[in-house]
């Protein structure tokens, strides 16, 4: 499903010059674009986020001390472009990102015993706000313009992750039953570097693709929960921990 949607997005991104024309009014004149410097963009992102939940090893699931999860979401930005010299320009932008994911694994007893015995549910929510500046260079072609860019940004983010595992057990006295619940919240600051390319139609419609490396430093991590009846509650507010987070975004935007 997600791959299909990504494929669709790429397809539409690459077809920017033609099919996106319909976004503009029929009376739109390409020369007007030179006066349009404000820009808006909306992207679909995939973030490979490292999590640090309390470690757990159960009969039917394992929670490692560190684990990376892939979460999809949206990336929104508004900014303005300033011309520098010739084809060189810079863009300043503010924006926000919101990534949300849910995984649910249902453990059935066996092929011939249709009983739900275990369940692992993981919810991820990663969101934040950022300010960024980019250096762009415009290559003009007959059909559309190509604008590679290098972007630097900084911002703050928050993560909410919840993982719940239950196993009902198969022993008659349920002595092998297990449970694990961890709800973690993290606050982090980050600086990021992105490289990408804008494909800009003659009407100013942008399709873009970019890869980002985000260096996050955590301010606070709070965990609440329990494992087999024992508390997992903890608060950690002094960190000497920086983590690199990688993400990819594709999307579209326009000048106005």
């Amino acid at each position: 499903m997600k791959l299909g949607l990504f494929f669709l997005t790429i397809l539409f991104s690459l077809s920017a010059s033609a099919s996106f024309l319909e976004y503009r009014d029929e009376s739109f004149r390409p020369e007007d674009l030179k006066n349009k410097k404000w820009l808006f963009n909306l992207g679909v992102g995939y973030i490979d986020y490292p999590t640090s939940l309390p470690e757990f090893k159960g009969a039917h699931t394992t929670v490692p001390e560190e684990e990376k999860v892939g979460v999809y979401g949206a990336d929104l930005g508004v900014g303005r472009e300033f011309s520098l010299i010739g084809a060189l320009s810079t863009s300043i932008r503010i924006g926000a990102f919101y990534n949300k994911g849910n995984e649910n694994n249902n453990g059935k007893a066996s092929e011939d015993v249709d009983v739900d015995l275990a369940n692992v549910r993981t919810d991820h929510l990663i969101y934040g706000a950022q300010a960024s500046a980019s250096l762009n260079y415009l290559f003009e072609t007959k059909y559309f313009n190509i604008q590679p860019f290098l972007e630097f940004g900084m911002g703050q983010g928050k993560t909410e992750i919840e993982k719940e595992y239950t196993f009902d057990g198969v022993q008659p006295d349920n002595s092998d039953a297990e449970s694990y619940l961890a709800e973690m919240e993290e606050d982090f600051d980050f600086v990021k570097t992105s490289v990408g390319v804008n494909f800009i139609s003659r009407t100013g419609i942008i399709s873009f693709i970019k890869a980002t490396k985000m260096s996050a430093s955590y301010n606070e991590r709070e965990v609440a929960g329990e494992v087999n009846g024992s508390s997992l509650d903890s608060v950690q507010d002094e960190f000497d921990e920086a983590t690199d987070i990688y993400s990819g975004t594709i999307g579209m935007g326009f000048f106005f």
Binding site: L8, Y72, N104, A109, V115, M252
Partner: protein, 261 residues
Amino acid sequence: MRLFTLTFVTVLLSSCGKQTEEYLYDKKHKDYRLVQQMGADKCINESRIFQEMQKQNDFSKAFKNGSYFQVDIAKDNGAKYSDFILINEVSKDSLAIHYYSEEEDSRTIIYTSQNNNDLISAIANGVCTPNKELRYGHSSNALNNKTVFSFTDSRIKGNQDAYEKIVESYTTRLSQPLVFMEWNRKISTQYKTLNNAASSPKNNTYSVKTITKDQCDSNVVCSRSTWDFKRVNVTVDTNAFSSNSLESRIFNIEDFDSSEE
């Protein structure tokens, strides 16, 4: 196009869930037998139809004295006739059921709540047994039904070259005493001997429907007042499912030839 884009983003954001499923135990696992037993227990204890059957155990709440039923019988030899049933006495834990028949001995069947409990257990044990070879056949969602449950008990003697096979398909209706499954039934018998093809199945079919007293009174068999009823009891084999013997039946009504070829 704008509409498409908005729809696309909405769909994308709502598609961020991932559902997976896995089996936790296979036949080699040391706890596999426990898993099977647990599955059987859960099937017995949580299937809605068995819970509904249990509610019928208080006969005085579930059934009315003076209720009439007609049993339509179609035999493999072409004979078709009707017998009649009257629930003649109802107490909390016992039913006296008159069975009127010109073809067989007329009887008063004494059916107790203990019989009823055993019959529920017999069906549940057979339907929920982990052993696929012995399990009573039923449709996948039948156990969640509240009013009707159909199942099949197959028994075979011999091997694939020469055998005798009996297939009994029962339908239990919760509007009727459970013992009425005796007359909501299709029994099919099939033979195969060495070097011969299997015979065509011989089918005897029974079905029960509710009738009014007026309908009974207008029937010469049902309204006859000179019946000589013999009191008979019901015996239930709660482990009948575990036997493949042709003679093994879930329950028997005393002095009643249930095979009735």
